[in-house]
Amino acid sequence: MSTIPRMFPAGVTYGGTLPTDGGCACTAAARAASLATPPAPPAPPARDGLFGPYGGQYVPEHIKPVLDELAATFERYHSDPDFLAELEYYLTRYSGRQTPLFLCANLTARLGGAKIYLKREDLNHLGAHKVNNTIGQILLAKRMGKKKVIAETGAGQHGVATAATAALMGMQCTIHMGAEDMERQKLNVFRMRMMGAEVVPAMSGQRTLKEAVDEALAAWLGDAENTFYLLGSAVGPHPYPRIVRHFQSVIGREARAQVLEAEGRLPDCCVACVGGGSNAIGLFADFIADEGVRLIGVEPAGRGLSYGDHAATLCMGSPGVMHGFHSYMLKDEAGEPAAVYSISAGLDYPGVGPEHSHLKDLGRAEYASVTDAEALDAFFVLSRAEGIIPALESSHALAHAMKLAPAMGRDAIIVVNLSGRGDKDVAQVEEMVSAGLVTPPTL
């Protein structure tokens, strides 16, 4: 700790210690406004871990003490100056925060409506927003004296981020990943192994994220005393949704300051894709109190909205309990989690973070869905228009923004969370193009 510069409290050290970033909308002033303000402590819910009727801790009794210990650790450190200084250090020096807010001038001109800004989470170390959370949680793990971390991963993005931060902190790391996903995301498996993680295939059921979660949980329970479960999205039993929201809220905190800096006003819409909901809640968190700002979560409609063809949980599901929490979920009549599908391995999950369920019921956020084909179209359009290849997950958010923009005035503003870069998806899309399954649109 002594070698780590203190960056909190106050904006004292920021102006001087950070390099300037070449003059996009993210000026030093915006940076100071966002980074130098410690995150507001999360608002306490009526009962710990509830978002309206959602959330909670639907877990076996023997997990409860472990979750209680984690909750207590989080309460103790989330606003602790030393903890925040260390967090800021790694977010800044390791991940390269803050990420820019980029005005897509070409895309905006092409669509002829609202200005489209991208919050460039793809520029984080490892190419996605996931690292915001893994750094935060691994620092908690350190405070708890854990020596090992365990995590599940879908697309492999969270696994890669976990493996990297575990390597950084010198911790042992085991990643559980569906065998099917390991096949779809071979390079991410190789990356994780390069960084020292053991990658364990989940062989049961559909062999994707749900099975990986089950097996990771089971393995964790076998050695909860020494192991920290590093959860990758704003899901799971309390306190995980609260913790993940907290560490991802840096996205919206920066974006809000940046858009104010660039435009002198708040955006009309904030748009983010929703798998488990972490990048979306991270963007939304600091805008929830700004009632004039529409918050829109975009879910994968896959091949269409019939059973088994999509993973549009909030659009098509209903409340239930799975993986330790109460939220909207996709299930069959007997209450079994539904089979789900999306072109993007990071979005095909039959549940969703409990705070999104609450925001939906309150009407504070809206949830829409976008098909594989629409997401692919956005994937190509952004690449061609701006030279930015988006992750297929993020392409869902972008596709929805592209539908909204033309119907809005030219002075309207949309902020899209570009949660990750598309390099990981290029091989998959190339295969589809070669096989004649898709044709890149001509611009």
Binding site: E61, H62, G205, D214, A218, V321, A334, G335, E336
Partner: protein, 270 residues
């Protein structure tokens, strides 16, 4: 043994309704043995053989039969129970099939019946309907591993109104204070989980089981059922305080899966 305590308690409080499960465990203890509580996944290994094995367990002297309601996402179960659950799901088992089957066999079993399953299928069935149908099917208790105290008020109340117990689960890392919180609402028996982690992985019982039992004995006035990892009577030898009931899950499922009858599994315990 706690059986004596229970009798005293009942004498002191004659108007308190006695749980069928509690009474059944006490009766076994009065006969000088722990109550035998086999766990069998509904619809395993096949739909028909499940009902045959139910009869076998009943004939073989089971005091309580825990019927596993299969769920594809069994966070507290080990590979053996999970595999049995998946097979049962493939066989088409649903909660409704189980309850209808039990209704059709009402009063057939000498053993008391407990349904053990995860919360979501119960929730989707509708908790009120569930309580009514379970009562009609003669079910005496429920075990819901992913429903801890903070979340269980509604289900507990609906079941209690029908005289059905919601059984508390405690484990090696459950503190005495936490056990006391459960003790304030618990009924039936208390399921003491022997291992941290999951069912059916390890051979034998971990060394801290006697301490866990001792803590539970202090906190609860109810009989204690020990489960997870139990196979043979000799595992309990040398325990200063024997559990009032023993639960067999994975070992029994393995025994059945190897082509043996459930009834023969119980023979060693009589």
């Amino acid at each position: 043994m706690s059986a004596a305590i229970h009798t005293d308690m009942n004498d002191m409080l004659p108007e308190a309704p006695v749980s069928r499960l509690e009474a059944r465990v006490a009766a076994a203890n009065a006969a000088g043995r722990p109550a035998l509580v086999p766990f069998l996944t509904a619809g395993f290994p096949t739909l028909d053989r499940f009902w045959e094995e139910m009869d076998g367990l009943d004939r073989g002297g089971a005091d309580v039969i825990e019927i596993g309601v299969p769920f594809s996402d069994p966070v507290a179960d080990g590979p053996v129970v999970e595999a049995a659950s998946l097979r049962a799901l493939e066989n088409g088992v649903t909660l409704r099939w189980i309850l209808d089957g039990l209704k059709a066999r009402k009063d057939r079993y000498n053993a008391e019946l407990v349904l053990m399953g995860y919360y979501n299928p119960f929730l989707q069935y509708g908790l009120e309907n569930l309580a009514a149908d379970a009562a009609a099917a003669g079910v005496a208790g429920f075990i819901v591993p992913d429903l801890p105290l903070e979340e269980d008020a509604e289900m507990r109340a609906l079941l209690a109104a029908r005289g059905i117990d919601l059984i508390a689960l405690v484990g090696p890392n459950t503190s005495e204070e936490r056990m006391a919180e459960y003790a304030a609402v618990a009924s039936g028996y208390v399921y003491v989980v022997s291992v941290l982690g999951i069912t059916g992985v390890r051979e034998g019982l971990p060394p801290e089981v006697p301490q866990t039992l001792a803590r539970a004995r202090k906190a609860f006035r109810l009989p204690l059922a020990l489960g997870f990892g139990i196979k043979e009577p000799k595992q309990l030898e040398g325990f200063p305080d024997r559990p009032d009931a023993v639960v067999f899950g994975s070992a029994l499922l393995r025994h059945i899966d190897a082509g043996n009858s459930a009834e023969s599994f119980l023979a060693a315990w009589k």
